[in-house]
Structure formats: structure tokens, C-alpha cells
């Protein structure tokens, strides 16, 4: 069994009496240690797929196996636990807490896992921030940081729990091309040296080029790239 397996996922929204099918039978697999780009035009259902993959939403029908666990059957609290332990999120608009230092922003997810002391949590957060190259910005607030730096804080926050899987939702959408390149290189590095599985949602082919595999989604169905490449990097 692969790291991520989706079998026949359907997602239908109901607006009053009208049903709007968004995902129409998506099946795909992702191997551990892959770096995948999820591409599609807006309205294609890639965000919905991303939400289901990220355990933020439940599919209407179908099975979703993550790391040997059937996530589609879990309750909201159990999904929160999965998000905390196994997933990291990087958003387009960074989503940092305002008027809160970079260090505290990064340490925030650790407040929802009870097995770390405060001192350990801060040490952890500092280590991750050093890794993304922000060792001299620990006490800066988001408003004092550039866009690239803010996104690096967000990446550090996503990594602080050592998740095996990282989701990036248009991670470079708010950045200039130079900083975009930096951030994308950081993803590639994380994928190659740390073996973190990365799923990146984008509509920019230039961004998707950094991924090992590109999944195209159109009108709620996967057009190509659904299966994990045999012989892909497994760590």
C-alpha cells in the first residue's frame, strides 16, 4: 500500500436543492518521498481535492488511505489529530498570527500536542527557524518581515511537528519571481534531503516544473499523472 491512496473519491456540494458535483471519482496514489504538483484551472476541483487530502474536509463517498489509515472514516477530532501529527500546511497568504513573534508563530502548533514542555517547544521552534534561514529574525513580528521571510516562517511552522507530508497551496502566489525561486528550492531541498512528501497546488506551470510529477485535474477528474511512478524516490 502506498503512502497516499485515493479510491473513487466523490465530493458533491449541496446548495439548497441543487447538487454541485466537484470531484467525480478521483483515484490516485502518492508514494512516500514524492514531490507532486497538483495543477488545474480555477474551478477544476483542485482546491477541494487538496482539502480532502489535507484532512480538512470529508469526501461524500470513496476511500482515502493515508499512511495505512483510512482517514475518510475518522471523526473531526481524529482528523484534527492527524493534521497535527502528520500534516503541515503552507498557504498562499502565509496566515501568520499578527503581532506575534516568528518564534511564537512557529511554536503555535506545538501547543496542541501535550508531550512537549514549553522550553522544548521553543527550542524546537528555534531549530526549525534556523533551518529555514531566519536565525536572526526570531523575535520579529510578521509585519516586520518581507513576504519571502513570512513564507519561510510559515514553512517553519509547517515543519515544527516533523510531519511526513507537507501541503503547499499556491505557496508562491504572493511572492515575486526571485523569492518564489528561493521558496521552491527550499521545498525541493526538504523533499530531497529530509524525504518529506510534498503536495503542491498551483496553476503556474513554472512552479509545477519543480515537482517530480504533475497531476492535472480538469472538471473534477484527474487527466493524467494519477499513479505513483514506479521506482520513485522512497526513503
Amino acid at each position: 500500500m502506498e503512502f497516499i491512496e485515493l479510491h473513487d473519491i466523490y465530493k458533491t456540494y449541496y446548495i439548497g436543492d441543487i447538487s454541485v458535483p466537484v470531484l467525480k471519482g478521483v483515484s490516485m496514489t502518492v508514494a512516500r518521498g514524492e514531490m507532486v504538483a497538483l495543477m488545474g484551472a480555477s474551478g477544476s476541483g483542485k482546491s477541494t481535492l487538496m482539502n480532502i487530502l489535507g484532512c480538512l474536509d470529508r469526501s461524500t463517498s470513496g476511500q482515502y488511505w493515508l499512511d495505512g489509515e483510512e482517514v475518510s472514516k475518522l471523526s473531526a477530532d481524529q482528523r484534527a489529530m492527524v493534521r497535527n501529527r502528520k500534516l503541515g500546511f503552507v498557504f498562499q497568504n502565509f496566515n501568520l498570527l499578527p503581532r506575534t513573534s516568528a518564534l511564537e508563530n512557529v511554536a503555535m502548533p506545538l501547543t496542541y500536542t501535550s508531550d512537549l514542555s514549553d522550553r522544548e517547544a521553543r527550542r524546537h521552534a528555534r531549530e526549525v527557524l534556523v533551518r529555514v534561514g531566519l536565525e536572526d529574525r526570531l523575535d520579529h513580528e510578521p509585519s516586520q518581515l518581507s513576504g519571502g521571510q513570512q513564507q519561510r516562517v510559515a514553512i517553519a511552522r509547517a515543519l515544527v511537528n516533523h510531519p511526513p507530508l507537507l501541503f503547499a497551496d499556491e505557496p508562491t502566489g504572493n511572492l515575486d519571481s526571485h523569492t518564489s525561486e528561493e521558496i521552491l528550492r527550499m521545498f525541493v531541498q526538504l523533499n530531497e534531503t529530509d524525504g518529506i512528501t510534498i503536495i503542491m497546488v498551483t496553476h503556474d506551470a513554472e512552479v509545477a516544473r519543480h515537482a517530480r510529477r504533475i497531476i492535472h485535474i480538469h472538471d473534477g477528474a484527474i487527466v493524467n499523472g494519477a499513479a505513483a511512478e514506479p521506482g520513485g524516490p522512497v526513503s
Partner: protein, 455 residues
């Protein structure tokens, strides 16, 4: 999620917007401050009112001798002499609800100083405890002492009316007045009390040791001795023995034959006319009465079913009025407290709802990194409670400071009320939970996807 972490997260969130936190909690601060200040000032004035009423005798209980009855004819209260000074001492010693007790012997006779004379409306032979019972102060000179009572010394205290009538306002301390031809040295002047509730002049009074009044002035109690009548009845006028009555009257006052036949209970040898008792506080009066009744039953060997040889009277009506007034005042303050705290709570709820809307993205983010619905609920609830508790604490300090200021600047009586402080803490926490719950619940119900996308 550990609770201290929740509290710290809440504190951090509040610190992110200190101005708003301040404004939010202002309602609670003002509410609690008003409550504390009003409670303290209210309790102070209530205590002051209580004190002034009790100075008029609200806490005073009167023990009177019983009634002699002959063939169905009652002779009225005090017609048998059954109370002794020992009863008074026993009451003081054995009744825990009694603060002080003073025996009293009454008399009414003429007082002469120089060429002026006056008949005080009340003349009491008593002990220094009388002043304590009636909450009376000596403004000039000093009170007579227990030793004066033991020795039967001819000393007395006089009220303001006597000072006015006999001395025309000059200080009478150290002067001698004659009471039924017995010379009394004035040792002190009582403070002014004015008229009592029945309109009687309370300052028209002379106090002396009861032994002196009993043995030197009246000879026996309850003789309403009138100087002229006594003089007319006396065959020897102005004799040495009358001027300086050194001889003690008979130790065993004889009962008349009719009295002896009518009252099976023996008349005590040294009887007194009444015992004035002060209860520790107005609510303890019933307890004091019960305790005294039991004690006197025992001391006077009155078996169950037999009629009492004493009567106990108190000012129930006055203390009832007093307690109902106090209750009304307290309830009124409580209503005001409730209203202001509810207003403060609505303010908290209002701002918390705004805060939840404004921090929708933060809530979404927290959910996406693994916060469960109940973590979010707890965070916002704790924020509201922390706001309320901090507001309550500041309010308590402000209110206490305010009432202290009132005490210092306006000289109003103020009483610190621990009950009010405890109640304020509990109520502000309750307000926080009550009015913080809905916004927190709303926050926890958010859909993480929509919350993350919220602009």
C-alpha cells in the same frame, strides 16, 4: 492541551490587542467597582445606622421582677421583688449572647444644689456597666467605679438637663449635690442623648452606685419618694442621722403578711428593680432572651408549668424594622450590582463576537494545525473569563480605593466587605463563562476551510 497553556495562549491573544481588551473589560471594571464601593459604603452606613439605633437601646433587653397576684388581682410588673444583683452577674457570666448587664434601682426624688432644685425624671442606682449597656459616654470627669458600688460611695453622674437646671452650664464636676439630704459628689457629666423615641428627655438623669441609692437614699426599692412627702412624714427634721445616714437599713426587708401569704416564692434579700442587659448584636437578642429565661428559671427554682417570677422585654419592633430596612438596602444594592454586571457581560459578549469574526483566519489556521473544536472553544472561553476576572480584580481595587477616598474626603463610615469581594470574583467569572460561551461556541463551530479563506 494543558490548561496553563490555554491560559497563556489566551493572555497572548489579549496582549495582541491591549486597547480592545481594556475597553472590553471596562464594563466589568466599572460594574464591579461600583458594586464594591456601594457595598462598602452601604455596609458602613448600615452599621452606623445600626449603631445609632442600638445607642437608643435596640440591643437592650430589660429584665423586670414578676407580678404578684392575689385572688386574680394582678399588682402589675415589679410588685414582687425577685431579682438580685447576683442574677445580673450570673446573666453576664453564663449567657454567651449577652455583652453586658447592669442591675438598676430606680428612684425619683429631689436633687438640691445651692438654692436650686430639680426632680430628675429618672434616677438610677446601678453599676458602671450601665453606661456600656446604654452606649453612653462621660463627656466631663469620669464614671464612678465598681469600688464605689462595693463601698456605697456617695458619688454620681448627671445628665445634661441637670447640668442646665442646677448649674446653669458651669462645670459641675467635683461639686456636691444633695439627694434626699444625702450629699453626692458629682464625678462626671453624661453626654447628650436628646429625647428618646417616646419623646422623653433622656438627659434628665442621675446615675449613682446602686448600693448608695438603695441603702442611703431610698432604703427600699420602689418607693417613689418625694422629698416633701418624706419630710412631712418624718418626725425629726434635719437630724444628724438624716444628713449623714451611716446606718445600714435592715438586711432582711420584711414582707408584709399579705405578701408573704400571696407569694410562695421568697423575696430575695437585696432585690433590685430591673436588670438592663445588652445583647451582643440585634440578631442575638432572641438567643439572649432564651438563655436568660433558662438561667433565671434555674436560679429561681421555677419548675416547668409554674409562672415566671420575672419578665423579659426587648425592643423587638425596633430591631425588626432595623433588619428589614437593612435587608431592603442590601437587596437594592444587589439589584444594581446584577444590572451593571449584566451590562458589562453584554459588552464582553459583543466584543468577543467581533473578535471571533475578526480572527476567523486565525481560528482556521489553528484548526488546520490540529486544534480540535473544543480547543478553540476553550481558548475563547478562557479569554472571556480572563478578561472578566482581570476586570473584576481591577474593579475591586478601584471600588475599594473609591470607598476609601469617600471615607477620607467625606468622612462617611465605610466597611470593607469580604463577602462583596468574594461575590464579585465569582460573579465576574460567571459572567465571563455565561457571556463568553456563545462567541466561543460560534468560533469552535467554524469550518476550517471557510475560516482559512475568510477575508
Amino acid at each position: 492541551m494543558k490548561s496553563y497553556r490555554t491560559i497563556r495562549t489566551a493572555l497572548k491573544a489579549l496582549r495582541r490587542n491591549p486597547m480592545r481588551a481594556l475597553l472590553t473589560t471596562l464594563g466589568i471594571v466599572i460594574g464591579v467597582a461600583a458594586v464594591i464601593a456601594m457595598m462598602e459604603i452601604g455596609a458602613g452606613s448600615s452599621a452606623a445606622v445600626q449603631k445609632s439605633i442600638s445607642s437608643m437601646g435596640a440591643n437592650v433587653v430589660l429584665v423586670m421582677p414578676g407580678t404578684a397576684t392575689s385572688s386574680g388581682i394582678s399588682f402589675g410588673s415589679g410588685s414582687v421583688m425577685t431579682l438580685t444583683p447576683d442574677d445580673g452577674e450570673a446573666i453576664l457570666k453564663e449567657c454567651p449572647a449577652v455583652r453586658t448587664a447592669a442591675p438598676a434601682v430606680r428612684s425619683r426624688t429631689q436633687v438640691v444644689y445651692g438654692n436650686r432644685n430639680w426632680v430628675p425624671s429618672s434616677m438610677y442606682g446601678t453599676t458602671p456597666a450601665f453606661l456600656d449597656v446604654r452606649d453612653w459616654t462621660v463627656v466631663d470627669g469620669e464614671s464612678f467605679t465598681e469600688r464605689d458600688v462595693l463601698n456605697g460611695n456617695k458619688v454620681c453622674l448627671i445628665g445634661q438637663t441637670l447640668v442646665r437646671e442646677l448649674f446653669e452650664g458651669t462645670s459641675p464636676v467635683g461639686k456636691e449635690i444633695r439627694v434626699k439630704n444625702v450629699a453626692f459628689r458629682i464625678v462626671g457629666v453624661l453626654g447628650s442623648k436628646g429625647a428618646n423615641m417616646m419623646g422623653m428627655d433622656q438627659d434628665d438623669i442621675l446615675l449613682a452606685p446602686w448600693t448608695t441609692i438603695k441603702y442611703r437614699v431610698t432604703g427600699s426599692s420602689l418607693q417613689t419618694a418625694n422629698q416633701s412627702a418624706a419630710a412631712a412624714a418624718s418626725s425629726t427634721v434635719n437630724t444628724l442621722s438624716n444628713l449623714y445616714p451611716g446606718g445600714q437599713p435592715g438586711l432582711y426587708p420584711l414582707q408584709s403578711e399579705v405578701q408573704a401569704a400571696d407569694t410562695p416564692m421568697p423575696v430575695r434579700f437585696t432585690n433590685i428593680d430591673q436588670i438592663l442587659v445588652a445583647a451582643r448584636s440585634a440578631p442575638e437578642i432572641p438567643a439572649a432572651i432564651d438563655q436568660m429565661t433558662d438561667l433565671l428559671h434555674e436560679r429561681h427554682h421555677i419548675r416547668p408549668g409554674e409562672s415566671d417570677d420575672f419578665t423579659i422585654r426587648d425592643m423587638t419592633e425596633m430591631s425588626n424594622t432595623l433588619s428589614s430596612t437593612t435587608r431592603l438596602m442590601t437587596n437594592l444594592l444587589l439589584c444594581v450590582a446584577m444590572i451593571s454586571l449584566v451590562v458589562g457581560g453584554v459588552g464582553i459578549m459583543n466584543i468577543m463576537l467581533v473578535s471571533v469574526t475578526e480572527r476567523t483566519r486565525e481560528i482556521g489556521l489553528r484548526m488546520s494545525v490540529g486544534a480540535r473544536a473544543r480547543d478553540i472553544l476553550r481558548q475563547f472561553l478562557v479569554e472571556a473569563v480572563v478578561l472578566c476576572l482581570v476586570g473584576g480584580a481591577v474593579g475591586i481595587l478601584l471600588g475599594h480605593g473609591g470607598s476609601t477616598l469617600v471615607r477620607i474626603l467625606l468622612h462617611w463610615p465605610v466597611q470593607t466587605s469580604p463577602t462583596a469581594i468574594a461575590a464579585s470574583v465569582i460573579v465576574s467569572a460567571a459572567v465571563g463563562i455565561l457571556f463568553g460561551y456563545y462567541p466561543a461556541w460560534k468560533a469552535s463551530r467554524l469550518d476550517p476551510i471557510e475560516a482559512l479563506r475568510y477575508e
